[in-house]
Symmetry: C2
Subunit: 133 residues, 2 copies
DNA sequence: TTCTGTGCAAATCTTTTGCATGGCA
DNA sequence: TGCCATGCAAAAGATTTGCACAGAA
């Protein structure tokens, strides 16, 4: 993936250590909530403020650097990438990205042109589904 | 559709005027937020409390009478029905239910058995897309 | 040097909780 | 009558805002 600095330089946002840390965290976790980002960054960066996370998440969303998703109806964020669906394991909570074309009929794009799709599949992942409770 | 009273009698919840009003409102609006439900019911039922709406929405969700969805990443609720996707018009905000089988490949259920799906399509509806700005 | 970003504290939602009273079964 | 539900007020959580200072370009 592109480095985080480039993502910011291509947007209208200045590069700051806080923003780099947020992007790095999102990249590492894949999908994270405000609180998860905050808790994790605070360890490396104790002076960071929750308000800064909120402001930056909103700014990054505005600039289309990241996108918001709703896992179990709670807001999470991820670095923007090709449109994809999310598989969420109901047991272990693991989240996997799935390419849309594996799931959605082709005709859908003709039927609903210029549309954005959001798809979540809540099921049991392979590791959880092997007979072990 | 089934009358609201039956929906409650089949659950573990007592029938109350407030609950009937919430279900009626959801049925009428199709999809509504807590605040929308509250504002609307308050007109007919001025003494109702926001806390009552919250408690009942949670109870009804728990009993599987209603389900939660996220439109534009904001929580909304609808009376439980056959699983379906949601089409949301980006211009007028109208929400339409779409049967899953019109959209999703059959194989998906083999690939992800016992899974629940949530699909949102954000596009332009027919009335908004006819050339009129 | 300029302008935007940060961090703090306060303000503003949003949602939940506890408790006394009211109402369904 | 016995419980559960309601409504109020307070508490708790989540998010936004204002402002002085710091830091990127």
């Amino acid at each position: 993936m592109k480095n985080y600095r480039n993502l910011l330089e291509e947007s209208n946002l200045k590069t700051t250590p806080q923003r780099l840390a947020i992007l790095k965290e999102l990249d590492k976790q894949g999908h994270a909530s405000i609180e998860e980002i905050y808790e994790s960054i605070k360890e490396m960066f104790p002076s960071i403020s929750l308000a800064t996370i909120y402001k930056n998440i909103n700014a990054l969303k505005e600039e289309d650097v990241i996108s918001e998703i709703c896992l179990h109806h709670k807001p999470k964020f991820e670095i923007k990438k090709e449109p994809h669906a999310h598989f969420v394991c109901k047991k272990c909570g693991k989240v996997e990205d799935i390419p849309f074309n594996e799931i959605i009929n082709e005709e859908i794009d003709k039927k609903y042109p210029n549309s954005q799709k959001e798809l979540y599949i809540y099921g049991i992942c392979k590791s959880c589904g092997n007979g072990n409770s």
